[in-house]
């Protein structure tokens, strides 16, 4: 554990200015991931820039487009229980409430959630090699303990999964990530924000060091009628997903008009398969069609031993979650044995 300096900033500009001064500076928001990584001697910030006083990043507002803007500093709890989020985007509330614990959600922020790091055991064990932590040192997970690890979009260099629940719903809802940096603002489509491990597993996402996430935008789309988030894990609560599925759907004359299916716990980023979604559009929302789509989604899946079970589990989870999405009123977030 190293020592560091600490500074509070009040505005986005000031935050960007401060971070640009030092490659080894880090923002701190809720602190629930960064402080943990620092205590494990895995993060070594020279200076912490506390962004919690940047008031412009603390609001949830309806946009002129009818979409919803979620400030990066709004806590995961306040987002999940927000009146508009829970009525217009209930899938997001469900996914957030399936993650972590009430105490952690009270501190954790929307921006920080996107940037949480993998829970790969070897990444956390600083005595072991790990391409993500120490590029070029190897990936012991591939031939080691890999029960938690990825089955889709893996690379020779890293088979870690991105552990967020919230982000799986954001991927299904086609959110946009709003970012500010020294060269101004930019918007990143949610599915382009996180990366596959490829040849640079040390990079989890496409945010630059000197950029700040200012917020998220949810498009003006209604998925409040048919939606479901299913999280399968080793215990009923307070555990990371082995496999999770977010489904958002609209029906027209009992046919699927639009469907989005995003998977968690299976890849280095929230996983969407546009081909499978297109296949379902115009079809009846039934078990047979969902099974066919699920098989398309896992077509390229590859197990590494301990995690082979995730392939079959994903098919079942996708089908079950899409069926549950037809009856969202029967779901109770977290408080259902099957969740």
């Amino acid at each position: 554990m190293n020592n560091f300096t600490y500074k509070k900033v009040e505005t986005i500009n000031e935050a960007v200015q401060e971070i640009s001064k030092n490659k080894k500076a880090n923002f701190i928001a809720g602190g629930t991931n960064l402080i943990d990584l620092w205590k494990y001697d895995l993060a070594h910030p020279e200076s912490l820039i506390d962004i919690n006083s940047v008031s412009t990043m603390k609001q949830i507002k309806v946009l002129e487009s009818g979409g919803l803007s979620l400030g990066a500093l709004v806590t995961n709890s306040d987002t999940a229980y927000d009146a508009i989020v829970s009525t217009k985007y209930p899938l997001l509330s469900r996914a957030i409430l399936a993650g972590a614990s009430a105490q952690i959600r009270n501190s954790a922020t929307n921006g920080g959630n996107l940037l949480q790091r993998t829970r790969c055991y070897y990444f956390y064990d600083k005595t072991s090699p790990c391409n993500k932590r120490n590029p070029g040192s190897g990936c012991p997970a591939k031939n080691g303990l890999n029960r938690m690890h990825a089955i889709l979009g893996t690379s020779e260099n890293c088979i870690a999964v991105f552990p967020s629940d919230m982000c799986i719903a954001l991927a299904a809802l086609d959110a946009t990530v709003n970012v500010s940096g020294p060269n101004g603002d930019r918007k990143i489509a949610f599915t382009d924000f996180h990366r596959l491990a490829g040849n640079s597993p040390e990079k989890d996402n496409n945010l630059e060091h000197d950029e700040i996430i200012t917020g998220l935008t949810l498009p003006n789309e209604d998925f409040s009628q048919y939606y479901s988030y299913l999280k399968l894990r080793d215990r009923n609560s307070y555990a990371f997903a082995l496999v999770s599925v977010a489904t958002a759907m609209r029906l027209e004359h009992n046919k699927i008009e639009t469907i989005r299916i995003a998977l968690g716990g299976v890849a280095h980023k929230p996983w969407r398969d546009f081909e499978a979604e297109q296949f379902l559009e115009g079809k009846e929302p039934n078990r047979k069609n969902f099974t066919e789509a699920a098989k398309m989604i896992i077509k390229t899946a590859k197990g590494y031993g301990d995690n082979d079970f995730k392939i079959e589990l994903s098919v079942k989870a996708i089908v079950r979650n899409c069926m549950m999405a037809l009856h969202p009123e029967t779901q109770r977030p977290g408080a259902q044995p099957s969740l």
Binding site: Y6, K7, T32, Y81, Q103
Partner: protein
């Protein structure tokens, strides 16, 4: 880098890199001189001599360090004291009034809701926060909302009984 920062007077620390953090803990204003890496938990236990709040894992996994910060339950092990400057903190030492136990304390005793007692301060602070949030209605929901507090002695059934009793009384 650090030197340059100090010249620009960006930091408000003295030479030893400490800053004064104002925390109102259980109604008493404390001015603590702490370094930026001191967790809120260590500020409470080691710098304020309030050892009711427990350190279980120090990594966010057990809930023993739960306190109320501006009325909300948080994990003090995953917060830095400097980040909470100006906040009001309530710990287990601050919930009894004029010598009368808080109803949850009484209910924990009546329901035999602890064995070793190590998780208890966190359980009770967490339960106070949960009741104030008002999101849990059924027993199942209370269990879910209390899942961030582990009990290695396995007193969970009695813990939930105690909380349910207080919840029903205060409704």
């Amino acid at each position: 880098m650090e030197k340059e920062n100090q010249n620009n007077q960006i930091h408000h620390y003295d030479e030893s890199n400490t800053s004064v953090v104002n925390l109102t803990i259980n109604g008493n204003l404390k001015q603590l001189k702490v370094q930026p890496w001191v967790s809120l938990l260590d500020a409470i236990r080691d710098h304020s001599n309030l050892t009711g709040t427990k350190k279980g894992c120090d990594h966010g996994q057990c809930g023993a360090c739960t306190v109320l910060c501006d009325g909300k339950r948080i994990l003090s092990c995953l917060s830095l004291a400097v980040m909470k400057d100006g906040s009001e903190i309530t710990t287990i030492e601050g919930i009894a009034t004029d010598g009368d136990l808080h109803p949850l304390q009484t209910a924990f005793i009546e329901h035999d809701a602890f064995q070793c007692g190590y998780c208890t301060p966190g359980q009770i602070c967490s339960a106070i926060g949960m009741l104030q949030e008002g999101k849990a209605h059924t027993r199942e929901e209370v269990k879910e909302q209390m899942s961030g507090n582990l009990c290695r002695c396995g007193a969970n059934t009695n813990i939930i009984d105690a909380i349910m009793e207080v919840k029903e009384k205060t409704l």
